[in-house]
C-alpha cells in the first residue's frame, strides 16, 4: 500500500530536500539583506551605493538560479 512512498526514505531524496531548504532559507535571508541595504541607501546616499546594491542583486539572482537548477537536476 505504501510502496509508492518508499522514495521518501531514499537518502538522496532527503539530501535533495535538505539542499533545497538551505538554498531557500539563504534566498530569504538575502532578500532581507537587500531590503536593509536599500533602506540604508535611502538614509545616507554615497556615490558607490548603486554598486553595492548591484552586487547584492547579483548574489540574490545567483542563489535563485541555483535553487531552480537544483530543483530540476537533483
Amino acid at each position: 500500500m505504501y510502496s509508492n512512498l518508499q522514495f521518501l526514505l531514499n537518502p538522496f531524496f532527503l539530501l535533495k530536500v535538505m539542499i533545497l531548504v538551505m538554498i531557500f532559507v539563504f534566498l530569504v535571508f538575502m532578500l532581507i539583506v537587500l531590503n536593509q541595504v536599500r533602506s540604508m541607501a535611502k538614509r545616507v546616499n554615497q556615490p558607490k551605493t548603486p554598486l553595492i546594491v548591484t552586487i547584492g542583486i547579483v548574489i540574490l539572482l545567483a542563489a535563485a538560479s541555483l535553487f531552480l537548477t537544483s530543483l530540476v537536476i537533483l
Binding site: 539530501l15 539563504f26 535571508f29 538614509r43 545616507v44 554615497q46 556615490p47 553595492i52 542563489a63
Partner: protein
Amino acid sequence: MADIFVAKKKKIELKDELPPIKKEVTPLFETELKQEKKEEKDQRFAHEELFHFRNKEVSLFSSFHLYPSNVFFKEQEEGEEIILLLRKHFMTNFPWIAIAIIITIAPVIFFIFRSYFPVPPLPDKFNVIAFLFYFTVVGAYVYMNFISWFFNISLVTQGRLIDVKFIDIIYHDMAITRLSLVEDISFTQSGFLRSLFNYGDIFVQTAGEKLNFDFLAVPEPDHVLNIIENLMGGQKDVQ
C-alpha cells in the same frame, strides 16, 4: 541741424555692430564674505597632511574624507555641508578578509587531500550543486561584512555630528547631535596596529538625549579631534 542728425545715426550703427558687453560685478561685501569663508576653511584644515584627502571622489574603500562630494543624508538641513565622512579604518576588515580567503581556499585543499577524508560517494550533480552553493554563501559572507563596514559611517557637518550604525544586518540606528550640545571630546590610540596605521577611537560626550557618541577605529583621530574642536571651539583632551 541736418549734420548733427547724420552724426547721431552713425553712432547708433556702431553700437549695433559691437557685441554687448556684460560684466557681472559682484558686490564688494559678497567678495569679502567669500574670502572670509575660504580663509576660515583654510584655517580649519591647516594641516598639510590632510590636503590630499580634500575634494577627492569618495571611493569604495575610503574611510576618511574631507568635503565628500555627492554624499548626503536624509535628515540633512538646507545649506548644511558635510565636512567630514568617517568610517572604520580599512585595516579593521582584516579578520573577515582573512577568514574569507581561508574558506575560499579550503575546498581546493579538501580536493587535493580528499583521500584522507572519509567522504561517502555522491553523484556528481550533488557535488556540483554543493560546490556552487558553498561559493554563493562565501560571496554572501564577504558582501555582508563589507556592507556592515560600508554603511557604518560618521558624518561631521558645520553644526552637527551624525553617527550611523549598521550592525548584524537587522540592527541599524542613526544618532544626531548638535555641536553646541557637545560637552567633552577625547581620543584614544593604543596598540601596535593602531599606531602603525594611525587610527583610534574618538569619544564624544553630549548633553543631548544620546549621551555618548563613539567614532571607533577612525583614521587620523588627532586631526578629526582638531576639526571637531575648531567647529565647536573647545579644549582638547588627548589620552
